[in-house]
């Protein structure tokens, strides 16, 4: 049930204040030490951020897509490493379980996911299967009451700290997408190993690494959706990505607003030719373009989110929002650096960090090119009907 507007505003306001007062002052430290401090993570748990999308009956807030987007926009005002701490629990790490888990699986894990005690991770991408997700190679072979997994997952967010991974593996080599099943794999399962966190271009403090399965013995009851979940993995994964794309687009809105704010602040303070550079029309043009795009982004996210909540099929709209928002964010970050001039190339300015941080958004959860393909496919489907 949607929240009444007072409660939602208070919720959004509280998260906004937490971001402003607690996260933003720590940004430089997090970037330098490549770590979000443990006590801040505890505060995020206390605040309830890990359970935004977990249904209330399992201890979460059960926010709908629009409400989630509002909160994520606030989180996006800080460096994205902070959102990443709880991002997998809000999005791809929990949605499979919520959508396709058995009642027993939900009871077992969701309360911990909501409180943040259980950190989740989502393993789809592989060294040779990124955009071609249906071509994944990780094998699961049935052995009595177990499945034996072999293969490697790549660039898996939060895997190094995850307690529970939703992993896609091929249970039927003869079939394509419908030969893929999803497994709920607990940390400590024999044969499960993690690679070293990768050194990334940006988003220091958020981690990705390889997940390696070597005769990893997973109890059959850990298949997502139980025995009936066999061959459903790819479908659940794709369903998860739909809401996830709106989430990412909302994150883009938050970052865009922050970059615009930083750019405006700098332009008002920085003086050249005896006056603030914000007085110059060529700077104003950049500011206005960024503001306009940030507004368009927000409008798009809110529309897609509301329609999804109203029960519309939003596969195309979610891709449109993700494509536009991530690409526009790239332009806004670039203008942000341009407005800052030389200072925009210096580490101590937030805009330099955001410039690197935002580059990934055009790549993960489906590259811009994959979004274009999805959008065109959905358009053409309408044409045939």
């Amino acid at each position: 049930m949607p929240l009444d507007s007072d409660t939602l505003e208070q919720l959004v306001d509280t998260v906004g204040r937490f971001v402003r007062e607690r996260c933003i002052p720590l940004e430089e430290q997090v970037a330098e030490q490549d770590k979000v401090p443990d006590d801040l993570i505890e505060e995020m748990k206390g605040l309830g951020l890990f359970g935004l999308t977990v249904p209330e009956e399992y201890g979460g807030l059960g926010l709908n897509t629009e409400e989630e987007s509002r909160v994520v926009i606030e989180l996006g005002h800080a460096a994205p490493a902070f959102r990443s701490v709880c991002g997998t629990n809000i999005g791809i790490g929990s949605q499979g379980l919520i959508n396709a888990g058995t009642e027993e699986q939900k009871r077992k894990y969701l309360p911990g996911v909501a409180s943040g005690e259980i950190i989740t991770s989502f393993g789809l991408t592989e060294p040779e299967a990124g955009s071609d997700a249906a071509g994944l190679k990780t094998q699961a072979r049935r052995d009595g009451n177990h499945w034996i997994l072999n293969g490697t997952k790549r660039y898996i967010t939060n895997a190094n700290v995850a307690h529970l991974l939703t992993v896609m593996a091929r249970t039927n080599p003869a079939k394509g997408g419908s030969g893929i099943s999803a497994f709920l794999i607990e940390r400590g399962t024999p044969g499960l190993r993690f690679g070293k966190p990768e050194k990334k271009m940006g988003q220091q403090g958020a981690h990705i690494c390889d997940v390696i399965f070597e005769d990893c013995k997973v109890p059959a009851v850990q298949m997502l959706g139980g025995e009936a979940g066999e061959g459903q993995g790819f479908r659940s994964a794709m369903k998860t990505l739909d809401r996830g794309r709106i989430h990412v687009a909302a994150l883009c809105v938050g970052m865009a607003e922050r970059i615009v704010e930083e750019s405006l602040k700098y332009a008002a303070e920085r003086k050249q030719f005896g006056q603030p550079i914000a007085n110059f029309q060529l700077i104003q043009a950049m500011l206005a373009d960024s503001q306009t795009e940030a507004y368009a982004m927000k409008t798009m996210v809110m529309d897609a989110a509301r329609r999804r909540d109203a029960g519309e099929d939003t596969a195309m709209l979610a891709s449109c929002a993700k494509l536009f928002c991530s690409e526009a964010l790239g332009r806004i970050a670039d203008r942000g650096v341009q407005i800052h001039g030389g200072a925009g190339y210096i580490r101590s300015y937030a805009v330099e960090r955001f410039y690197r941080d935002v580059r990934i958004v055009r790549l993960y959860e489906g590259t811009s090119q994959i979004q274009q393909i999805i959008i065109a496919r959905e358009m053409m489907r309408g044409q045939k009907a």
Binding site: T7, D13, G46, L61
Partner: protein
């Protein structure tokens, strides 16, 4: 023991205050409002007393227009048990609020009233002292630390030049200073649950209080802008100006 805390809805501390064009007050239309930060400290302290088993119930009080309910809700989301809202649209001055608080205290019989030492809008620093006087209760103002024992409360006060300890007999009124505690963020689940906590509404007339302002605001003006300084060429010139123009040496 019941604890009554008063929470005032003020312009958010992040907002740049602007004076209205007609100079009758400050601009409040479309301005973000939140709970007075000193009152947040008061709510936090009351909740900590309840968590420590020293208070049984925390009641959040606010007086003002309908929107004050949001401020009470914030207190409820932080952990207060119920709210009391005196609904009135006109200007409220400290004496009127103190009288309303007294009326509510007469009904509720709290062991402690905790209020912020002042509100960040008018900076009056009067309500706590006035309500203590009206009730005839002891007062511990500018609290830096509070210890409740049986029948009494010890308050460490921030005073000019240091800290002062006072022991008060309960019931008492305490006003909070900045360093008393660091208020918590209301957790998101608690914000959702706060909607279900009750808020009693009263009108000033129901409580037999006349809230008509006793003071009249003549004019509100922006503080004068800072004037540019001057550069002096020598130390001698500086000393000369300090002595003869500024008159400080």
């Amino acid at each position: 023991m019941k604890v009554l805390v008063a929470v005032k809805r003020v312009i958010d501390y992040n907002v740049k205050i602007r004076v209205k064009a007609d100079k009758t007050g400050v601009e409040t239309a479309n301005v973000k409002m939140s709970m007075n930060p000193f009152d947040e400290i008061a709510v936090e302290e009351a909740i900590r007393m309840k968590e420590a088993g020293k208070a049984t119930e925390v009641i959040a009080f606010s007086a003002g227009p309908t929107q004050c309910q949001e401020t009470i809700r914030t207190a409820l989301a932080m952990g207060a048990d119920r709210g009391v809202h005196v609904v009135t649209d006109g200007e409220l001055q400290p004496l009127a609020v103190a009288k309303l608080l007294k009326a509510v205290a007469d009904k509720e019989q709290p062991g402690l009233i905790i209020v912020g030492k002042q509100a960040i809008d008018d900076d009056s620093n009067q309500t706590g002292q006035m309500v203590a006087a009206l009730l005839g209760w002891s007062q511990g103002t500018f609290a830096n630390k509070i210890d409740v024992a049986d029948g009494s409360v010890t308050v460490k006060r921030e005073v000019d030049g240091g800290l002062e300890n006072v022991k008060l007999k309960l019931p008492a009124v305490i006003t909070t200073d900045l360093r008393l505690n660091e208020p918590r963020y209301a957790s998101l689940p608690n914000i959702m649950k706060a909607k279900k906590k009750p808020i009693d509404q009263h009108k000033p007339e129901d409580l037999g209080v006349d809230v008509a302002p006793r003071l009249k605001t003549l004019k509100v003006e922006e503080p004068a802008g800072r004037k540019a300084g001057i550069k002096v060429k020598t130390v001698a010139e500086l000393v000369e100006k300090l002595r003869n123009e500024a008159g400080v040496i």
